[in-house]
Symmetry: C2
Subunit: 358 residues, 2 copies
């Protein structure tokens, strides 16, 4: 998507043809900075410290991390070591595991001399597939926004609420939850987006930034506000992404998603989850089986922002205050109106059929 | 309650016998600073800018604001002007209106020469009554915590989740939602409090601070986390305060309260609202009739914290980002398990009877 009019992806091969460049998302929305990944260690660090985030982008980044690892050592042992190190960076997103499975499958049967070339080819394909997948999600989801517009008599913009960032910054391009918003906007359907700030890491500010760069009208709200907005008829539909969805449709996503799903149900507002097939964990039915990453208390107790041109971290609580920081929650399938996938739109009960997993 | 071992109220008459001192809550939890109110203007400013906050304390502060106004001009016109100015500071809390009605009733029938003395006497009585009321709320609510402890086989602490600050800092002393917690703690019942940070103004950090000063175990969480905690069986009961509750029991409280009430209902956890009778608006049945204060976007887009010993405000969003900031929401009565008042505990349907308003 565009930044100041110039097209970007979130990850790309550098001009040297082997190192990997990413948009450093810890600097956004304050500044657009590019970060270079040179080896397995720097890639693991970038994922763990959330220089890249979002389930699909974590998958693509891990694929390139495997390329960098294979470039320094193409042995079976090195591949297994790299996969284990990358898998350990974030426990919740299933795309990471999917990407590692893909990379291992592409490499294991080849002689070591061909593995570097094969790795870069598969990683590039994973990135390109992600772009195509997200574009398809956008086209399928656009119809849901168009229907809401029709229900409103085309008399006013469609008001979409989203939580966290499941935009192009969370993928290689287009996004998952925001892909339908961009597709609707590009098709001339007026949309306005309520953007949850999404504490503790405020990924909503990334959502606001990318919507703003694309020209989509949006308003940031505290995470606390969404229930009130839905109760008062100020939201037409909710769309979120997911870090992992189970075979029956339980949705693991950024902490706080579940509260919005409850509010949407209470207000009888559609609650959509946009996702690529790679975010579905066919091996799990019950969402409560998904491990929930507990992140550092500091993410709750301190925050970074801009003060007089600098980025400054400020402490929010009295010294010695204890905090807990579960990063994800699970929204049970009955609260999900429909999934928006690259293969089309389906209620939770239809997810297996859509992917031929009956 | 105690701060570093010394007893404080949130508001008191200064040593000069006429000016009013408050704990400046915009400096907490970072530092304990006392602020002096000298006239009507500084009192209105202190309420509007939330140097004092919490419905009961706003009422007591407004009562003292009337004293300061009457001291400079005891005429009927000046009293009406002062009441209007104080009422305009915060539109949602009903205690403010209650306090103004009380003050006008105490002053209107008296000659102007007696009004200053009468005003200070009534304001002091309002403050003392608030302390007695909150103490009674604590004693009634303690039994609910004790029951939860018994249900848990007295084998572990009772885990209470609260939103915003309805502790002693929100009242003159003891608090509303936290009064039962303090009463239980003082009675030797082990309690642990999940403290919602309560964006955008992070009053949860006030809750953490005052619980810490009193020695009550607590953990701060992002507002997004409460649904997850309740879903996973980590919360025994929820207690919040209220800025205004209608005759049928619809609860207007800090934005985000409604989301926690939905989550409590879904997890079948008791959701209690602690309040003095002065927070009940007998003139309204439907909570959606309560005006919801829309505060400045800056409260969402910037935040103040401690950096290298200074208090620094940092910007969280890209420049030019739009935000909305509704300060309160309404939790419909059916989501409330019981009200904890100075007169006892009652389900919403029993509120009128408890106050003889049948």
């Amino acid at each position: 998507m565009k930044v100041s009019g110039k097209s970007y992806r979130t990850i790309w091969l550098a001009e040297d043809g082997w190192s990997v460049e990413i948009i450093d998302q810890t600097r956004l929305p304050h500044e657009l900075a590019v970060m270079r990944l040179l080896d397995l260690g720097s890639t693991c660090h970038a994922i763990r410290e959330m220089h890249v985030r979002g389930a699909p982008l974590i998958g693509a980044t891990a694929a390139y991390g495997m390329c960098l690892a294979v470039r320094s050592d193409p042995s079976d042992g090195a591949i297994e070591h790299a996969a284990a190190a990358l898998l350990a960076t974030r426990p919740t997103a299933v795309n990471l595991r999917w990407a590692m499975d893909e990379m291992r499958a592409a490499l294991s049967s080849r002689p070591t001399s061909e593995r570097v070339t094969a790795a870069y080819a598969r990683a590039a394909a994973i990135a390109d597939e992600d772009v195509a997948t997200c574009h398809a999600i956008g086209q399928h989801g656009r119809r849901l926004i168009e229907e809401a517009w029709t229900r409103a008599g085309k008399s006013r913009p469609v008001r979409v609420l989203t939580h966290c960032n499941a935009g192009w910054l969370a993928t290689v391009d287009w996004g998952t939850a925001l892909a339908p918003v961009y597709a609707a906007f590009d098709a001339g359907i007026p949309v306005e987006v309520w953007v949850d700030e999404t504490r503790p890491r405020n990924q909503g500010m990334l959502t606001a930034w990318e919507l703003g760069q694309h020209g989509v009208s949006h308003t940031v709200v505290a995470d606390n506000a969404g229930g009130h907005l839905m109760q008062r008829g100020q939201v037409d539909l909710v769309i979120v992404g997911t870090d992992r969805t189970t075979a029956r449709g339980d949705v693991c996503n950024k902490i706080g998603t579940y509260l919005k799903a409850l509010a949407a149900q209470a207000a009888q507002i559609p609650f959509y989850v946009a996702l690529p097939g790679s975010s579905i964990d066919w091996g799990i039915e019950d969402g409560f089986m998904i491990p929930i990453e507990e992140r550092a208390a500091d993410e709750v107790l301190a925050i970074r922002g801009r003060a007089r041109g600098d980025l400054v971290t400020v402490a929010l609580a009295a010294e010695g205050t204890r905090a807990a920081n579960p990063a994800f929650d699970v929204t049970p399938a009955p609260l999900v109106t429909a999934f928006v996938t690259e293969r089309g739109v389906t209620a939770p009960a239809g997810l297996r059929a859509l992917y031929g997993r009956l």
